[in-house]
Symmetry: C2
Subunit: 158 residues, 2 copies
């Protein structure tokens, strides 16, 4: 696995995301890493991340797939371009669409493992498939269509 | 609009959801209401619910669509059965799948209005369409496939 998280390469002015920004002290601070040709992130849910008692809130699962998906897309764009992670100008992706299938109730307690696979790279669009696994059992499966962030959305952009 | 929120009819032992449970003090406590044949919920995002600065975190939008969708499904099930909201046994739905299309960046600041429409009722499955609007502009559109919660997942269930 890579040593530094994908999100830790995000420029300081786009590192505020509630799901994965290192600069958001209230947020989840998800960290995604390359693991061969896949990416992986692990999150320990908090006791209050509940749906009905004993199970993880689906919005958390959607959030993890979303942030892991855009992070994976950024990393894939660097790899595709043959560029070092973090080299400028930065690749930063936003979500065009998100889909989650909740395959079974996700037990609340153990860490959640999110895995990403790159399904398609086409211009500024990257499609990432994802699974959320608890103790070896896949509980949710999702897909993120990520698009490279328009320059005008970046702080200081035009 | 109805006076009491759909989620306020959930039984006490399934009112812990981070997104919409009145008993979750850490959560969003989303409240959904009938408005004619549609349902509506309004949430004031907090300043830290950010994606990149100035825009709402996509995971929050997904969460709102998810919880508003399952709430709408419960209310639709009562209406379909010709039963009073809150009458027992309770209808409580979980999410089988969730889809969100992020149509444009959602500005962070004003309240988010989530609207639900009932697209299909078929046995234990109800499909709810949803939009998320800010100041009159639809920023996201989604769909929730909700299924009536299996009895064995209910506290005290078998």
């Amino acid at each position: 696995m890579s040593e530094k998280a994908i999100q830790d390469f995000y420029p300081d002015d786009v590192a505020q995301c509630y799901g994965c920004g290192r600069a958001n002290e209230h947020g989840l601070q998800l960290k995604s890493y390359w693991d061969g040709d896949e990416t992986v992130a692990v999150l320990q849910p908090r006791p209050y991340h509940t749906a009905i008692p004993g199970f993880v809130y689906g919005g958390l699962i959607a959030s993890l797939i979303d942030c892991h998906g855009t992070g994976t897309a950024a990393a894939a764009a660097y790899r595709e371009a043959g560029r070092e992670m973090g080299s400028q100008p930065a690749f930063r992706f936003v979500t065009a669409s998100l889909k989650v299938d909740y395959l079974r109730p996700t037990p609340l307690g153990p860490p959640l493992e999110v895995r990403g696979t790159i399904e398609e790279i086409k211009g500024r669009k990257i499609v990432v498939g994802a699974t959320v696994t608890v103790e070896g059992e896949v509980c949710a499966r999702g897909q993120v269509v990520a698009v490279q962030m328009p320059e005008h959305m970046l702080p200081g952009g035009k």
